[in-house]
Symmetry: C2
Subunit: 106 residues, 2 copies
DNA sequence: GCCTTGATTCCACAGACGTCGAAACAATGG
DNA sequence: CCATTGTTTCGACGTCTGTGGAATCAAGGC
């Protein structure tokens, strides 16, 4: 089982798996639109607000936001009876950095 | 059917769908490793060569390479009895550009 | 204490995906 | 023409995913 492989490429299995989860989080058109919406509005938004702007139901919006939050692309903050979601500006750094790491850029 | 929606966000449905297919192409750890392998070797490689370096079968490597080629992350060139795959350097430009477009960066 | 509003979780279902092995295809060498 | 080597396609299997609707939970307002 232990193959003592020499790890081809410059990435470890773990890094490759991590980056794959990042890409997977954006591998759906609705999640891309969702993130773009939050980024262009430049403010925290509630689920109900988003439901009125995208052609999907409440539970589906919540589902997508959870996926985006799991990889830290968006941040959630409970405020009273509603939850406010906003873009995590940090992913502007680490996301292109991951691309450079994969493509072996210096 | 025509809802005359005001297209929330800065991206059109079509652009969002296109970017989603790009991310989907990298939404698998093995494809990330595959692209990283081709990028770090900095040369065109054959399927058989790659099969010896990654823990998956020949047909699966071919399958993943086809997906990466469909979105132009890699380029394929048939050479005699074998096919040589190499990274498409152009995606170093357009990929971070897509991220900036989604995140509304100027 | 109830009721209302907003959000999440649960369930179900259709469709897509990753993987393998076998079969088919392509190109070269005997 | 047949054999060989490298690659792609096909069929199948189990798993994961996007979506909606119903139920549940959380926090205020009456």
């Amino acid at each position: 089982m232990n193959e003592t492989e020499c790890e081809p490429g410059s990435l470890s299995h773990e890094d490759a798996a991590t980056y794959a989860t990042w890409f997977k989080a954006l591998a759906d058109p609705m999640r891309v639109r969702l993130l773009n919406l939050l980024a262009t509005e430049r403010r925290a938004m509630t689920v109900g607000e988003i439901v009125g702007l995208l052609p999907i139901g409440q539970s589906t919006v919540s589902h997508h936001l959870r996926i985006l939050a799991e990889v830290r692309f968006v941040l959630a903050e409970r405020q009273g009876t509603s939850t406010r979601y906003e873009v995590n500006g940090a992913c502007l750094e680490c996301f292109p950095a991951a691309v450079r790491a994969i493509m072996g850029q210096p």
